[in-house]
């Protein structure tokens, strides 16, 4: 028999707050974490806003030795995991049956950016000896395994904007298949540096003014940074130790558009949502909230709305894009957004889509405009649709 999988711990850091709880409180209050970007050479950018974590002093959280090895994305993952493990109390250390699967897109991009600047712009001929272990995409996953004594399967998934959802889906599958009892999973991202934003600027899909998903006056995406990490655990193991269960991971599906490298495809999104419902044994009517991918671009929001209407028909549940508040965390976004699903299931609060100014007939759904709504969803979906046409949708069910 397939094992059931539950969430017993959560941790996060984002522009909305320094913990999972603080991030969810800000989501419930409809606060914005978007502000003026602060980093070297920002004045040479066209795009100067983002969900940057302000007032964060890395030296307050980590020793000098740790900081020589931790890029900012690793720091975020470590802090989020620390919170999740403390809440869960799961036995991870030494157990061959535990692992780590994290999502990231840029990995140690800030380390690359800083060191490219040194060798190319400043003409230096030496860089710090740990540049490679600091920048590698699996650095965060490896440090979590070392810090928590996790000796089973650990790796990193990189599928652009769907990285975290793919990672969490893999962690779910591994426990369900009996390959592991408990997994640390989620994602981390920190691309807010000159090179990171300069590359995105080129695509002409970023907004200079704000993130307004599903609103007729939207004009693009706004990036964010941060991490969220969860403890996924087999239900039997969690019950045996009397752990508090935050939600059940009910289903997961992934599809590929096989069409365009950047433009989303309605059919790929439809198949991913339908697949997650089928995997979870849920019908469309069971879903009481969808955390939309909702990037605030012309292409995504129209296509995603049409896909949701195709799957759910006239009775589509409320949807919202919390990217309006924390920005798009790219490879970490699905992890932070799963918090909105957990909040909906546990607290009956649907996080709003803020900055919703003008209805768009092409996105005619209840997007929980501007102010949180109360509801009692029994199950939720969380969508992630990546550049490259790679789609990953997770279904959660309430623990009760």
């Amino acid at each position: 028999m397939e094992r059931r999988v539950v969430i017993t711990g959560m941790g996060a850091i984002s522009s909305l707050g320094m913990s999972a709880g603080a991030t969810m409180d800000a989501m419930a209050a409809g606060l914005s974490g978007i502000s003026a970007l602060e980093f070297q050479d920002v004045e040479r950018l066209q795009i100067r806003i983002g969900g940057q974590i302000k007032g964060y002093d890395e030296a307050k959280h980590f020793s000098r030795q740790e900081l020589t090895l931790y890029d900012r994305f690793t720091q975020f993952a470590v802090l989020a995991a620390r919170e999740a493990v403390a809440q869960s109390g799961a036995m991870l250390a030494g157990a061959a049956q535990s692992g780590v699967v994290l999502g990231t897109s840029g990995g140690g991009l800030q380390t690359q950016d800083e060191n490219f600047r040194k060798v190319y712009e400043e003409g230096k001929n030496r860089v710090h000896p740990f540049v490679v272990p600091r920048l590698m995409n699996n650095a965060a996953a490896s440090h979590l395994s070392m810090l928590h004594g996790i000796t089973g399967p650990s790796y990193t998934v990189s599928t652009a904007c769907a990285s975290s959802n793919h990672a969490m889906g893999q962690a779910f599958h591994m426990i369900r298949a009996g390959m592991a009892d408990s997994m640390l999973t989620g994602g981390a991202e920190s691309m807010l540096c000159f090179g990171g934003i300069k590359a995105w600027e080129g695509l002409r899909v970023m907004s200079k003014t704000g993130c307004r998903p599903f609103s007729a006056n939207r004009d693009g995406m706004v990036q964010g940074e941060g991490a969220a990490v969860f403890v996924f655990e087999a239900l039997d193991v969690a019950e045996a130790r009397g752990a508090e269960i935050l939600a059940e991971v009910a289903g997961f599906a992934m599809t590929s558009d096989a069409s365009d490298i950047v433009m989303p495809n309605q059919n790929g999104a439809v198949r991913a949502m339908q697949g997650a419902l089928q995997d979870a044994g849920l019908s469309p009517d069971d879903i009481g909230y969808i955390n939309a991918h909702g990037t605030g671009t012309l292409g995504n929001d129209r296509t995603e709305s049409a896909a949701i209407q195709e799957v759910f028909g006239r009775n589509a549940p409320p949807i919202s894009s919390t990217k309006s508040m924390h920005g798009h965390l790219i490879g970490g976004t699905g992890a932070v957004e799963l918090l909105a699903c957990i909040m909906a299931l546990r607290e009956g609060i649907l996080a709003p889509t803020i900055n919703y100014d003008q209805p768009d007939p092409a996105c005619g759904l209840n997007v929980v405009p501007n102010v949180a709504q109360k509801a009692k969803p029994r199950a939720t979906l969380s969508n992630a649709f990546a550049f490259g046409g790679l789609n990953a949708v997770l279904a959660l069910r309430s623990a009760g």
Partner: protein, 87 residues
Amino acid sequence: MGESVAHKVKAIIAEQAMLDPCEVSLDATLESLGVDSLGLVETVFAIEETFDVHVPFNANDPESKAFDIRSVESIVKAVEALIAEAK
């Protein structure tokens, strides 16, 4: 000057459309030439590099009046205006 801007813009669009520049007429639209959204972003980039200007184009708002892309001629005019502004 006007001729030369038109000539260069046609060459840029022709490259994206995989056509000979003489096949790109001023009244043609990018769509009719087979330039898709990715080709359009590359066209904007090539215009910026060629003329050393900043093109106010956002792919989320392609119909914006800030940079009129309705035809080859409108693009040429918009580029001429940007060059004049930059002077």
